[in-house]
Amino acid sequence: MVPDKRVTIDEIAAEVRDGMTVGIGGWGSRRKPMALVRALCRTAAKDLRIVSYGGPDVGLLCRAGKVREIVYAFVSLDSIALEPHFRNARQSGAVTTMELDEGMFLLGLQAAAWRVPFLPTRVGLGSDVMRFNRSLRTVTSPYADAEELVAMPALNLDVALIHMHRGDQGGTGQYLNVDPYFDDLMCMAAARRFMSVERIVETEQFLADGPPQSIRINRLMVDGVVETPHGAHFTECVPDYARDEAFQRAYTASAKSDDAWNDFRARYIDVTEGEYQQAVAP
């Protein structure tokens, strides 16, 4: 019998407390757990350290005043190259950062998942990643080559939030697009792991929808699961739906002034998930 780990989005958001490190799955403006991010914007949590292959999740949380530090290699909306709220937060000095190479970021999650303090890599040598992140250290190979490598520290997460296409009530998750991104690593790097899914299905349904390797998230990786149809909106969640480019442009316009943001916030953030979905329905 599959355990029942179903929870609500507000129960998940309440798991995030002041000062925690929160990893968010997806990549850029693709398959982001936006229903969970919006719910997190509505809580009182603050001073968060956000770890993300960043998209509008990072921008929204920055604009909502939740963020102390961002750990990232990029923050982009893909079809709109630069994330406007992230840019405003950076340029005003409102957040501190750990800016990494995309691959260093992967190794940090992998180190956390494997419970080792660091993983060695050539990546970062010679670049300003080493100059800006003064806590980064190098390590010398103990073998005859004596090569000096970057010791990428583990990115240990308090909470991971991911969004998958299908899941069952036990917390198994399946992706149906072409790239799993790093959602499994996010979960394995975290103490508490939460997954939203487009649809909760019977376990028997997984192999009707995709091959075994599409079942990327096993239930060892997940503490709670919630069904949030259209829950990655406005980011891409193919094959279920494409990115909502018109809405993404409206989101981008909300960075133009406080009035524009307050209007956006009132209509799309300070509402229930059901009201949000009604407001954005085509």
Binding site: Y72, A73, S76, G103, G126, S127, E147, V178, D179, P180
Partner: protein
């Protein structure tokens, strides 16, 4: 089909194709509109052995058009981001990236302008530039060659240049290889004794003085600089009919 003599964008595409022409069986990974056109042009003509992606997570063997929805794909591999890092770190790749700033040793910045704590202009971030440049052959594409882009000193080193790579201990820079820089005005390389950027050719209609005036540091210029080659009729057919039927390259670099 578009006709008429080769445009500036098509000269750029041919120059980009030449960057990948002798790479052998590696992943040619051009990023950006004309880089993709030029990379696919190389695979379509002189270098069919190149392995290329569809721009996302699939490896495809046919030449697919740019900016066309749902093109037919001959899929020959799955290359999600995690697999791409395996390729990058194994060294079987030549990437062509863009940059907001580039200096004379090929240090590249697309992270931000100004200070780290509160940048004047926040750009993309480091992305994969540190890892690309320390592991793989790298070329750059600069669609607007100006003194704002070609600067004496970059604000941030995202992509590692020759001076930084040379300073690394214990051969840390042994896989570092900045190959070429292609711009809307010229082609440059680093084939000088101390790997300073060198002017290799100027595009038809561009003078050496034009390039010097648009460059914020001293380019190595030895002797008479040749003119960049024109694309062949076969290459023009590939660009106009098969690779870029909608003329996206012409939008990126308008014909002067």
């Amino acid at each position: 089909m578009r006709d008429g003599p080769p445009t500036r964008a098509e000269v750029c595409a041919a120059a980009i194709a030449d960057c990948f022409a002798h790479d052998g069986e590696i992943l040619a990974n051009p990023i950006g509109t004309l880089p993709v056109i030029g990379g696919r042009l190389a695979k379509a003509t002189v270098a069919p052995e190149l392995v290329m992606t569809d721009g996302e997570a699939l490896l495809v063997e046919n030449i697919i058009p740019i900016g066309v929805d749902n093109p037919e794909k001959v899929v020959a591999g799955w290359n999600p981001y995690r697999t791409m890092f395996d390729v990058v770190w194994s060294g079987r790749r030549h990437v062509m990236m863009s940059g907001s700033q580039l200096d004379k040793f090929g240090n590249q910045n697309f992270a931000f302008i100004g200070s780290y704590d509160a940048p004047r202009t926040q750009l993309l971030g480091m992305r994969g530039a540190p890892g690309n440049t320390i592991n793989d052959k790298t070329s750059y594409w600069i669609p607007a060659h100006t003194t704002r882009t070609f600067v004496p000193v970059v604000d941030v080193v995202s992509g590692v240049g020759y001076d930084r790579a040379r300073e690394l201990p214990a051969h840390g820079g042994r896989f570092h290889d900045i190959h070429r820089v292609v711009t809307n005005l010229c082609v440059a390389d680093f084939e000088t004794p101390d790997h300073r950027m060198r002017l290799r050719s100027v595009h038809p209609g561009v003078t050496v003085d034009d390039v010097v005036a648009a460059t914020g540091f001293e380019l190595a210029i030895d002797g008479a600089i040749p003119t960049s080659r024109l694309p062949t009729d076969d290459e023009l057919m590939w660009i106009r009919e098969r690779i870029d039927p909608n003329g996206l390259g012409e939008e990126e670099v308008p014909n002067p």
